[in-house]
């Protein structure tokens, strides 16, 4: 008798997990981040700490893009440009007006959200290739302006900025700062996607015409997605520039946006944990591959092609399917 009651309550618990399907994503994300949190105990190389900080930067940017591309269906090729804006917003304020870097990062967020709104407005009536082309053009204009305003930005030479935690040697301060930001963003997005806003965004992705006919204010929510997505990329950029200590236009290169999108896609587009997995695994992997003299971008872009062609769910997406099937079928 006792065992059958136990099994029944266990089964009920499983069903609840199923009902809150997206909780799976959040649990996975938090567990991965927990692993990252305790990793420095075993991995003491400062070099690899630095690599992981950059990985978290890319993961954050990928998470931001995924909100726009994976959840709202707007395939912008400009996430790198928004990281760039985030970098320079803070860099310029700190460099010329001696602003506190924290305030600088805050301004990164504000400026990218605003410019994201602008791009969203521009792209409202655009779909598919037209949308992609517009975002490419937008990204290149921004990069061009920053590069060629040599007097202000020092162009390709880059603008040096103080680091957030002074010029100490270890990276652990940054490590845990980035980690904290990623955790907060993931939890925030979990609640957002679970809410009715998440329903609206995904309905826009799935069928904009039907969504409109079912009461979703497509204009408003598309713009919202652009703004929030850009904001996250800008935040990533702002943090990054005060880690690296240098603002360079290279961040805005289309290839870099391709990298960010690639991480989201390979990790699993349209899932909460996909871009996180993509960034955390792929960036260190690319650093590792570099030791063999292979250009990481070659491997990367090849993976993008393969995943998109044969394996749409991506790394985490597939894992999630397996996990769900296990839980669902007992």
């Amino acid at each position: 008798m006792n065992t059958s009651i136990d099994l029944r309550s266990y089964w009920k618990k499983c069903r609840q997990v199923i009902e809150e399907k997206r909780a799976l994503d959040l649990i996975f994300s938090l567990m991965s981040l927990l692993v990252i949190a305790i990793l420095p105990i075993f991995l003491t190389s400062a070099y690899w700490h630095g690599v992981l900080v950059v990985a978290m930067f890319y993961a954050l940017a990928a998470i931001g893009w995924n909100l726009l591309g994976g959840y709202t269906g707007q395939f912008s090729i400009a996430p790198g440009a928004f990281c760039l804006i985030g970098m320079y917003s803070s860099a310029l304020l700190v460099h010329y007006w001696d602003w506190n870097p924290y305030l600088g990062i805050f301004m990164s967020v504000v400026s990218t959200a605003t410019i994201g709104l602008l791009l969203g407005w521009i792209c409202l009536r655009l779909r598919g290739p037209y949308l992609a082309l517009t975002t490419i053009a937008f990204a290149e204009i921004i990069r061009g302006v920053i590069r060629f305003s040599y007097d202000i930005t020092r162009g390709d030479l880059g603008l040096s900025v103080p680091k957030l935690y002074g010029s100490g040697v270890g990276h652990l301060d940054y490590y845990y700062t980035f980690l904290l930001v990623v955790v907060i963003v993931q939890i925030f997005l979990y609640f957002l996607i679970k809410s009715k806003i998440g329903l609206y965004l995904q309905s826009i992705r799935d069928d904009e015409v039907a969504a409109s006919g079912r009461g979703v204010n497509v204009v408003w929510w598309k713009t919202f997605a652009f703004a929030l997505s850009s904001l996250i990329c800008g935040l990533a950029g702002g943090l990054y520039v005060h880690f690296i200590g240098l603002a360079s236009p290279e961040m805005g290169l289309l290839m870099n946006s391709g990298l960010i999108i690639g991480m989201a896609v390979i990790g699993g587009m349209g899932t909460l944990a996909g871009p996180l997995v993509g960034g955390l695994i792929l960036h260190p992997l690319s650093e590792y591959v570099r030791e063999f003299g292979v250009q990481h971008m070659v491997v990367f872009s090849f993976l993008i092609i393969v995943v998109v062609r044969f394996w749409r769910a991506g790394l985490y997406g597939s894992l999630k399917n397996i996990l769900e099937r296990l839980i669902f079928h007992g």
Binding site: G128, P129, L133, A137, V145, I261, S301, I305, V308, R309
Partner: protein, 295 residues
Amino acid sequence: MDVFITGIIMGTFYALMALGLSLIFGSLKIVNFAHGEFFMIGAYAYALIAINLKIPLVFVLFSVVFIGIILGVTVERLLMRPLYQKFTEWGAMRDEYAIIITFGLSLFLMNLANQIFGPYPISGPGLRPLRERIMIGDIVMMSSHRIIAFGVGAGVLIIAILLVRYSPWGKVIQAVSQNRFGASIAGINSTQVSSIVFGISGALAGLSGALLCPIFSAEPFVGALPAVKSFVIVVLGGMGSVPGSILGAYLLGVFEQFGAVYISYTYRDTFGFLILILVLLLRPQGIFGEKAREV
């Protein structure tokens, strides 16, 4: 005056690029983001074949065209099939599939070239010695390579346009562009048409790369700029409209030259992007394109 002529010459090369892209968009309704890399591969093919095999340059050009066709068809066969299959996992998001996969292909080809050939430019031999100049009439003096390249380019362009307009294959392409479903009912194999279109596109872009190789050299990222210009042209002229793209190509060629000389050299490309956005915002169908209805 020679600014204008240079514009026309450049316009011809742009037209070769834009025509291929326009055909793909017309019949498949997608933008091929790897188009610039067809150009790049054409440039490398020209340079490497010409340098390593001492054969007349005419044959080199033919080889490049041949390679371009193979490249285009291979890409289509390997990567573009899911576009026609309705029940793949991408379902309604076929546009997005095309965007990501061609973008990924573009990155892959650029970086593969970088990996194999290194970042240093390889220059191919000119059709005439590069320093040689010819007088046109009494007024203009121009590099003879450019003139001959222009001649070849214009010739191929005219042939291509005539083929698309009047040949049986061309009519099939037009049919699929206008109504894919209807065309298939009429017995046209639209996947074959897609292969043909990609093949033509690869050939034209590759040829363009080969002809410009002596001037711009072959290097991994050389295709990026021609690609972007093609996008601007195709959008300006109307996606899928052949006359629109040709007209747009020459317009861009001429205006660019005047702009570079009289306005600003550095911001030249940025202006192109600005034009792109403005056109997409104000008149998305371009000059000759059609508006699509949704519901």
